[in-house]
């Protein structure tokens, strides 16, 4: 598989587009108001966790419908150690990642050792997420159902060490995270492990017959994806300043995570990012438009997401990115659905 660099050299329009987008994202906090910035910020967040989920589903072919579990665990762990012990989230995230990785390893061990695959694996991920939600609803140390709150301090002072500060600071943090994960994915997908994942996704029996240690590489995919998602969870907790079990671990959160990669294109590098940039702003525009009309309907955004998903699956089953890539003149693996 060629690198993204080579792909882009073959498609000058795409390279130009990417450069313009990059520059726009870099200066965005200077140009747009706080509301618009928050929309881009949440878009980037979904691009980040979408990429993390895509590693596991898009590349290694293991469907998780409970990824909110890792968002919640990462967020709760870092927030709890910050509030109770004053620990910087940069250290707290290590704890969050370890906790999430341990849960993921438990799920993987259970599933892959006992041959739980496909739909049953997906159900297991939901079950563990739900179980953890109920656990946290009774976990007094982090506020139980009443929620867990981070102290909101002066938002004018940017304290990067404690991750307290202005929306612009949070914006640059998530921008760096999303771009960083993208670059890491480029390397990962071209690595030996990336190829093993794709072999497992395409035909697990064949991968095993060729001597790929399918157990080890599926475990790697699950643990890596969970760890990265937990990192996203730390960010979200410190940005939102509050955590509720239902909002952290709920199934609707898990579904939100997987929409962007599915709509953008499973198993593609750009898919989750493109999907997030399509879905999140559209959802915001819809909410705003309905507000202007004086309509206030709970859940209308999710209804809309469902409709978008339906339309995409009907018309572009491989996702928007493979179609878009061909239009940009990008050939090869990145344009493959």
């Amino acid at each position: 598989m060629r690198g993204v660099g080579a792909v882009l050299r073959g498609a000058p329009r795409a390279a130009t587009g990417l450069a313009v987008l990059g520059a726009a994202l870099l200066v965005a906090p200077l140009l747009v108001d706080d509301y618009l910035l928050s929309v881009i910020l949440i878009t980037l967040y979904f691009a980040f966790v979408g990429q993390a989920w895509n590693l596991m589903m898009g590349y290694a072919g293991q469907l998780s419908l409970g990824h909110a579990l890792y968002v919640g665990l990462g967020g709760y762990a870092a927030a709890a150690f910050f509030v109770h012990f004053g620990l910087t989230p940069w250290a707290g995230m290590v704890i969050g990642i370890l906790v999430a990785a341990a849960f993921a390893a438990g799920i993987g061990l259970l599933a892959f050792r006992f041959g739980i695959g496909g739909v049953y694996f997906a159900l297991l991920t939901i079950a563990v997420a739900e179980f953890t939600r109920i656990l946290f609803e009774h976990f007094e140390w982090v506020g139980a159902t009443g929620g867990f709150f981070l102290p909101v301090e002066n938002r004018e002072i940017n304290d990067l060490l404690m991750l307290r500060g202005s929306p612009a600071m949070f914006y640059y943090v998530i921008l760096a995270m999303t771009v960083g994960l993208f670059l890491a994915n480029v390397a990962l997908i071209r690595s030996r492990m990336g190829y093993y994942w794709m072999a497992i996704r395409e035909d697990q029996d064949a991968a095993q017959a060729l001597g790929i240690n399918t157990f080890r590489y599926k475990m790697m995919a699950v643990v890596l994806s969970a760890s990265l998602t937990a990192l996203g969870g730390v960010f979200l907790a410190f940005y939102n300043n509050n955590l509720f079990p239902i909002d952290a671990f709920g199934i609707h959160r898990s579904i939100e995570i997987i929409l962007a990669p599915i709509i953008g294109g499973l198993g593609t590098l750009f898919g989750p990012i493109l999907g997030a940039f399509i879905l999140t702003p559209l959802g915001e525009v819809l909410t705003w438009a309905l507000d202007q009309l004086g309509v206030q309907m709970a859940g209308v955004k999710h209804l809309f997401y469902g409709l978008v998903l339906l339309v995409i699956i009907r018309s572009l089953p491989g996702g928007v990115w493979p179609w878009f890539a061909r239009r940009l003149g990008i050939e090869g693996p990145e344009a493959r659905p």
Binding site: M1, R192, Y195, Y196, M198, A199, E202, D203, D205, A206, A207, Q208, A209, L210, G211, I212, N213, F215, R336
Partner: protein, 234 residues
């Protein structure tokens, strides 16, 4: 070279192999014939380490490999061309071949072996950069065989290599197996095409309901009335 003794395999409560014993000598072709569901594929999967047997032993080159995970079995030199070919449809022909060389045993000579495979199957060279899913059935079977060769196997287990192929291609696949065998590769051939595989093999085993019901020299089995009635329709 390969000695299987008293192998038992269960899928849940269902017994797939019931005390199967098979011996394969260095450099020969052994045919395993039997009806659908007799346990032929189960035997291959148990030898390859994809399924774990409940009882019995598998010895390869004097080493007890019973219950080893498949990646270790592969690295000892047992390769397989699975039923239905199992190529990676979205990977290119070359990527498929390279995936065949992931075990340490195959990694070192990866590039040379790709050339060997292309020399053997020139049509694969022409389609090197094409997604494997776009190949014809015959080409996919060649790719599956080539991919197996990438792991430098001493023993190759073929599971229904002629399945779904046109007669001309079937002859070609059997010719390929003969060539590989002549070059020193030991072969286990599982086939529904009983006449062809018995003509090619030295020894043969007949599997029924997970048991070996008949075994011996392939040419003798070809003359056996029971085999002729049950499998050759004569």
């Amino acid at each position: 070279m390969l000695t299987v003794e008293g192998l038992e395999l269960y899928y849940g409560d269902a017994k797939a192999l019931d005390g199967v014993s098979v011996a394969v000598e260095d450099g020969e072709i052994v045919a395993i014939v039997g009806a659908n569901g007799a346990g032929k594929s189960s035997l291959i999967r148990a030898i390859a380490g994809i399924e774990t047997p409940a009882a019995g032993t598998v010895r390869f080159d004097g080493e007890d490999i019973t219950g080893w995970p498949s990646y270790r079995v592969c690295d000892r030199g047992i390769g397989q061309v699975a039923e239905g070919r199992q190529i990676f449809p979205n990977m290119t022909v070359r990527e498929n071949l390279e995936m065949g060389a992931v075990i340490p045993r195959g990694r070192a000579r990866c590039d040379e072996t790709v050339e060997d495979v292309f020399a053997m199957f020139p049509r694969l060279r022409e389609r090197e950069g094409q997604a494997a899913g776009t190949l014809s059935g015959g080409e996919q079977q060649m790719l599956a065989i080539g991919r197996c060769l990438m792991g430098q196997p001493k023993l190759i287990m073929f599971d229904e290599p002629s399945l779904g192929l046109a007669p001309a291609l079937v002859a070609e696949v059997f010719e390929t197996i003969r060539t590989l065998n002549a070059a020193g590769t030991t072969v286990i051939l599982v086939e529904q095409n009983v006449a062809m595989s018995l003509r090619m093999a030295r020894h043969a085993y007949v599997l029924e309901n997970g048991r070996i019901v008949l075994s011996g020299l392939a040419e003798d089995l070809l003359d056996d009335d029971g085999v002729r009635q049950a499998y050759l329709g004569l």
